[in-house]
Subunit: 393 residues, 2 copies
Amino acid sequence: MQCPELRELREEIPQRIKRFRALMVAEGIEVALVLQKVDLFYLSGTAQDGILQVDHEGERLFVKRYPQRAAEESPLRVVPISSLKDLRKFLGPFEGTIGLELDVLPVRLFEQLKEIFPKAEFKDVSPLILRLRSSKSPWELSMIKKASEIYGMVLKRALEILRPGISELELSGELIKTAMSHGHQEYLRMRGFNQEAHSWHVLSGQSASILSSLEAPLGGWGPSPAYPMGAGKKRVKPGEVVLLDFGTCYFGYHSDHTRCLCLGRPPDPLKKAHEVCIEVVRTLEQRAIPGVLCSELYEAAIKVVENRGFGKNFMGLYPFQARFVGHGIGLEISEPPFLAQGHDYPLEEGEVIALEPKMVFEGLGAVGLETTYLVTKEGLKPLVELPEEILEL
Amino acid sequence: MQCPELRELREEIPQRIKRFRALMVAEGIEVALVLQKVDLFYLSGTAQDGILQVDHEGERLFVKRYPQRAAEESPLRVVPISSLKDLRKFLGPFEGTIGLELDVLPVRLFEQLKEIFPKAEFKDVSPLILRLRSSKSPWELSMIKKASEIYGMVLKRALEILRPGISELELSGELIKTAMSHGHQEYLRMRGFNQEAHSWHVLSGQSASILSSLEAPLGGWGPSPAYPMGAGKKRVKPGEVVLLDFGTCYFGYHSDHTRCLCLGRPPDPLKKAHEVCIEVVRTLEQRAIPGVLCSELYEAAIKVVENRGFGKNFMGLYPFQARFVGHGIGLEISEPPFLAQGHDYPLEEGEVIALEPKMVFEGLGAVGLETTYLVTKEGLKPLVELPEEILEL
């Protein structure tokens, strides 16, 4: 393998499994079968086609394609299988509670598992895995930091090449090229049915105020109605704010950043709104310490923007506003914790979050910023230093 | 909307629904609820967050985010909803058979639907939709043709920039940039749990013989073990075969092509194997006429390669070979029909397939080609003219 990072990852796996097992015991899950590729990679160190079995005594990794590669990547014991049915041979006619990722597992696959284990009870194990994943190790943090630094290079490149008449798709292509030359994984992962993520959420002027199906403040035309979000064929004009909402990914770990550029001077209301977004950032950087409720942070953001008279522009076009101001990030672009309405659980030290106050104006476009932070005892610490103001060219 | 193509798409929708309804009646499905984004786009013309209800009398499109945009894109009647539960209000306590996409619908979402319709029976409707989708209209064909032409530009660009020392990821970034500047949708769609598709399957020398979890002849290191397939950090060396297996996508429609490049002269066994791949193509182009069984085409390919002594190199490293030689393509990168072992159904006129005979050599790499074709009465017709030999630079 060509990856120096792999050794450190392998060393972390036993600890991750141990923490997972403790949660399983607490929740009364006797066996977990982990199938989703991202969870599998988190708990085993490999993303080959396999199933991780964890019970209260031990664990093994069943692999279909390819056992040999999985064994090179993962420190766990690899057992080759040729089909799902082989599980029956290894686990026997299991009668207890099996944990499965029921939020993502398709019905047809679930039916097969029920046939293999007709006497088992099934329980959703995804909340446990997501809870585990939300707190990042120093090694994981270093991967997200690398991804964040790639965004820094993307922004630098955008400042070099932005010109009137360049299309959003062309600009995105240039930025993807820059990111990939630094090791960026141009496939972002987003959990859940129908969820599709892309790096190239690069929107100019009015595009940023186009509503999309994505539960996010900014939509965009996208390349076509078949993929109706993100960069489209629209060309950049002077005086328009261009939002580089560009997710980057290194060794499977994402970072999420947005900065604004403008050829010339942006319209006054947008400039003012951007300053309020920075005010939201300053407020939350201080308040976001371990123990504070995630929902309180969202409410604090709302208070700032309403005080400044931008309540109807915050996080989307009124009344279709997204009800969050930030989200956890790691092996998926959006994961717990969510700084959102109703999310009344505490923020914890070691979590990594993307904070993204944004304002949208019908027909005019959007402004705002997004930064990936580590949660520390002293508040939020950005993983890369970037200018915050609208960058006028 | 900025899309001239939208008008023609809208005109096709009523016909697609009509054909779908006929299949539903034949299969005894009284109501279909279509949720998956790609199927929804196919049947409604919009990929907004919605649910298409089709029954024997009519159809309506329930949309959560955003009804207004969905109504601009789709010719169907749009009914705004705020949550899944609203379906109960509109459909009542339905007691018949509901068709759902059970191959992709997650268990948790299915449980919600069962709670909403406790007396209904559920049946998998995906096979019907995939059958419908396999035959392409002239308009759909024109979209796949545009995607194919984008590959032509990608190949041209690769010939300009390939140089010793460029990494697979750098080369991929350059090609994505070229493709996006022509309207390419840099998010390829692949149906099914854990299925991830990327355009940048750009592999050099030994990389092409690295096994991956993907059910495909070529693997690749990928950027890291977190995403262990496709282009990686490896740098191109003279004498290595570089495979540009690069999927392109226009207006949601994919094309899939592979061509080989080499800085200098490729090793003799690879050169010979590539000629055999071209022989497979010539054989299948003639034999692939409407009515022939898809499995027969796979067997015909096997016969050619075994006659030439390359049976153990065909479609992957022995014994981990993929058991197909081609696949349908359209709104997803891989869809029925499959030119594969055991697929004993006839090829039909109007289907579009990607034919991809490839040969893999341990440690040396791979060769072969892939072309997207229309199935016509006279055999296969390529959607773009491309050179077939290994392009030596």
